[in-house]
């Protein structure tokens, strides 16, 4: 049922931006900073997230594999993430980032909470495969925000932001920031909670108030976002024209990219009931309280998008054919 969040705040040095364009909510940051010591307790506050992680990873691998096959390549299913540049926005203690890095992705985890980044680095350092001293390590953490990364020219093959969207103040600005960080032809993965009575009942009433599995204050109902709203956003989304909402230092090359990529919206729908398979997918994440595990709902399963869900959208390639 719930998933705690990953948060997202501006580092002090970016403080001047907070008043203007930040989607980060300072209260959210301090909430998660206070819980940061519990990130790696698999039976504690973040148990739901630990259990959800394999299911999220399964979805990510599945979509990348499908996309690669659509592109006409035949990748080794075990190495579909290998050598991709992946950004994990709101990485928290690094649950998802570690998994991505183990599968060979050059992973950058960012979080607005310095404490979270500290925990994530410390945890990775105990794992010989991930430790920064290891020659195989492909995992980096940085205390920063997505907006701040936009100021650099780098874009990513895959951008993930799991259980973050329901914690940000300005979701539209946050989404466009994430979108701009994706390379043309790259992938954006989001998971969050829908704004439905069921979601309220499960993630706030049960999880926080009754079962106390999640700290009160973790979730705010009004911040929840419906899948249809995400789909609508990417149907109408156009990259910000030249100077992005955040003063941009990006090079002209990247600007050109975004101009060409605007040739078509990310999602082109021809009917209300059909989602183009090669552009977008949304699947419910269902928690089974009896077995204490999550699973990915089958496509289009009735009612499966009423609570937690995961969303994938692919950025159009340059000069769309």
């Amino acid at each position: 049922m719930l998933s705690p969040f990953r948060s997202f705040v501006r580092s002090p040095r970016l403080g001047r931006l907070i008043a203007t364009h930040s989607s980060v909510n300072p209260d959210e940051i301090s909430h998660f900073s206070n819980l940061s010591a519990h990130w790696w307790d698999e039976h504690g506050e973040f148990e739901f997230l630990h259990k959800m992680n394999p299911v999220r990873m399964t979805f990510v691998r599945q979509k990348l594999l499908e996309a690669a096959r659509d592109d006409g390549t035949d990748p080794n299913p075990a190495q579909v993430l290998a050598n991709l540049d992946v950004l994990d926005v709101g990485c928290g203690g690094g649950l998802l980032s570690e998994s991505l890095a183990r599968l060979g992705a050059n992973t950058l985890g960012i979080d607005a909470s310095e404490k979270n980044i500290g925990i994530a680095r410390q945890h990775a350092s105990t794992d010989p495969r991930l430790a920064p001293t290891s020659p195989h390590s492909s995992l980096m953490y940085q205390h920063t925000t997505a907006e701040a990364l936009l100021e650099q020219p780098k874009q990513f093959d895959v951008v993930c932001s799991m259980e973050v969207l329901e914690h940000v103040d300005n979701p539209a600005s946050f989404l466009s920031t994430c979108a701009e960080l994706v390379k043309p032809g790259g992938h954006l993965f989001l998971s969050t909670i829908s704004r439905t009575p069921l979601a309220y009942f499960l993630t706030i009433f049960m999880a926080q108030d009754v079962l106390r599995k999640v700290s009160p204050g973790t979730h705010t109902y009004s911040k929840y976002i419906k899948p249809s709203e995400l789909i609508q956003f990417f149907e109408t989304y156009r990259p910000p024209t030249p100077p992005a909402p955040v003063p941009s230092l990006r090079e002209s090359v990247t600007l050109a990219d975004s101009l060409t990529s605007s040739a078509r919206p990310w999602i082109t729908r021809h009917s209300d009931t059909y989602l183009p398979r090669t552009q977008v997918d949304v699947r419910g994440l269902i928690y089974n309280p009896v077995f204490g595990n999550w699973h990915l709902a089958p496509k289009d399963a009735w009612g499966s998008l009423e609570c937690n869900y995961i969303f994938w959208v692919r950025k159009p390639k340059e000069i769309d054919s």
Binding site: W40, E42, H50, N53, P54, M57, R61, A78, L103, P128
Partner: protein, 567 residues
């Protein structure tokens, strides 16, 4: 030659140099999976992991064993001699060993299919029999199960590991202690070896048997009891079955009130014994001359309980006075008891013909209802071990014992009457290897509780169901309480008619290699045993009169199942 030998293990030295880290004054090597225990279960896990491409590309695996694995790798016996530790591998286990490529390294001609099984009650003589041919899916020569020497299997697994390197086999080395690297969630265990090496384990696997040091480190409690029963094993030599009889591929088991005695075929003239009995009787039997033991084995499959009890006492008293009975004296005693029971000397039920000039030619009527007469016992093959029931509360370590997992006897120990011990262990291994592979594909930390939970979830209840059923069977059949015996016999006879039911039970023996049916079958067994329990209570209440026939029928099923699976 020397150079070749050096080259043969390049993986190890490379791994060691790459991953050796200094921690204070001590250095350790990082490993992803450390398996403690080089028995069949530990080796099967190493073999299953090394046979998976995904695992091989991602994990460094080490196996630690105190014994000498080179001796097992070089193990050889003349074709007529057999080791006394034999397991009956179900078709499910066989399919798994085949999948990981191990079976091709097992010496096939030293294994024997069980094509038929005969089980009967020592008190009522009620009998059930099972035939592999009744299961449509079984192909010729496959049988319901396959009797295999543990050493043959271990040697095969070692050869598999040789062909698929990647596992660091550390043998002739003891684990001196397991320590925790640090405080905090998910701290890594460090395995300290008596050769000075220290292995830092992402995942520590306890395949280290009943007294598992890994379990002790993980502080996983277990519950169980000792059965006050000793299992006596031996390799038996007998005459081949005649041309008028079937081949020696029938497993026999007779439930005596002191415990079941089982005869497991290995070759036309050699079979294996597992005789569960009271510790004092086991001591008596082990203390006598092997040829006296041979006589007693023949008698135990044939004579009524009262005479067996007399013989145990007679031998025991003679031993106490340091005038042990000679084989001739025991034969005379047996002959005398047979006469008083009205057993014809030339019938199949006579145990006294064994030593004498046994008739070659047309065998007596019903000679296939009992095993062939044992003529001698392979030298040095008699041994015994205590039987117990034990199940841990969990298969996964938590908190201070994080990053540990138990498989095989370290997690569960059962009565051998159904021959399921090794099969349960191999089932664990198959599930754990699959769980580890899935975790790798999801980028999970294979030592984490979350990654291992599917393994525990898949195995715990399955094992518990089977163990409970076997435990209940043992208790049911070691009583001579009249109403229970009556219920037993009725149940057996009833069930024998129910061919369809029999087929269902046979499937639980793993005959179809399918998995889902197995637990269902054992569930049925457990329920049947429970119903039997209540039937027995009814029988008791009405003075042994009209019990619940239906209930006993079910119970019979149970027994059958157990028998089946023994093979």
């Amino acid at each position: 030659m020397l150079a070749c030998r050096r080259l043969a293990r390049p993986a190890f030295s490379r791994i060691r140099s790459l991953s050796t880290t200094t921690e204070g004054a001590l250095t350790h090597e990082n490993c992803d999976v450390v398996v403690v225990g080089g028995g069949p279960v530990g080796l099967a896990l190493a073999g299953a992991l090394s046979s998976s491409r995904v695992v091989g590309d991602n994990l460094r695996i080490a196996l630690v064993e105190a014994g000498d694995l080179d001796k097992i790798r070089a193990w050889q016996l003349p074709s007529e001699k057999y080791s006394n530790r034999v397991s009956s591998l179900t078709n499910t286990s066989y399919a798994f060993l085949n999948d990981i490529g191990a079976w091709s390294y097992v010496q096939h001609e030293r294994t024997c299919p069980v094509e038929h099984m005969d089980v009967w009650d020592g008190i009522s003589d009620a009998r059930i029999s099972f035939d592999a041919a009744e299961i449509g899916t079984v192909s010729q020569n496959e049988g319901m199960a396959r009797l295999t020497e543990n050493l043959n299997l271990q040697r095969g697994l070692l050869h598999l590991l040789e062909k698929a390197p990647g596992v660091d086999l550390i043998h002739r080395t003891k684990v001196t202690s397991v320590t925790r690297e640090s405080e905090g969630h998910g701290a890594w265990p460090i395995v300290n070896l008596d050769n000075g090496r220290r292995l830092r384990a992402r995942l520590l696997v306890g395949a280290d048997g009943f007294n598992s040091p890994v379990r002790a480190y993980a502080q996983i409690p277990s519950f169980g009891w000792s059965y006050d029963t000793q299992g006596v094993v031996a390799t038996l030599i007998h005459r081949p079955r005649s041309a008028y009889e079937g081949p020696n591929t029938t497993a026999y088991q007779r439930f005596l009130p002191t415990g079941p005695i089982a005869f497991l075929p290995l070759s036309p003239t050699v079979s294996s014994l597992v005789w569960s009995t009271r510790p004092h009787i086991a001591q008596t039997l082990q203390g006598c001359d092997p040829s006296v033991l041979a006589c007693m084995i023949n008698a135990a499959f044939r004579l009524p309980q009262v005479s067996l009890q007399y013989l145990y006492n007679r031998i025991s008293e003679a031993q106490a006075t340091s005038t042990p009975l000679t084989p001739q004296q025991v034969q005379e005693e047996i002959l005398w008891r047979e006469t008083s029971h009205g057993i014809d000397r030339h019938s199949a039920m006579s145990a006294s013909a064994a030593m004498g000039d046994a008739p070659i030619g047309i065998p007596p009527v019903n000679s296939e209802l009992v095993p062939p007469l044992v003529t001698s016992i392979q030298a040095g093959s008699i041994a015994s071990f205590p039987l117990r029931f034990n199940h841990t509360e969990s298969y996964l370590g938590e908190g201070a014992g994080a990053r540990t997992v138990l498989v095989g006897d370290a997690a569960h120990t059962i009565h051998p009457l159904a021959g399921q011990g090794l099969n349960l262990g191999l089932g664990d291994v198959e599930a754990l290897a699959k769980c580890i592979e899935n975790a790798i594909l999801q980028g999970s930390d294979v030592g984490s509780y979350t990654a291992l939970q599917p393994y525990a979830r898949e195995r715990y209840l399955t094992n518990h169901t089977i163990m409970a059923a076997i435990d209940k069977l043992h208790k049911l059949y070691t009583t001579d309480f009249e109403p229970v015996v009556w219920a037993r016999s009725t149940g057996l006879e009833v069930v024998n008619e129910l061919d369809s039911l029999k087929a269902a039970i046979m499937m639980t023996a793993g005959a179809d290699g399918g998995k889902s049916g197995i637990t269902a079958g054992w569930d049925m067994v457990t329920k049947g045993v429970e119903t039997l329990d209540s039937a027995v209570k009814v029988a008791r209440a009405v003075g042994g009169g009209i019990g619940g026939i239906v209930g006993t029928g079910v119970q019979t099923l149970i027994q059958r199942v157990s028998e089946r699976t023994r093979a």
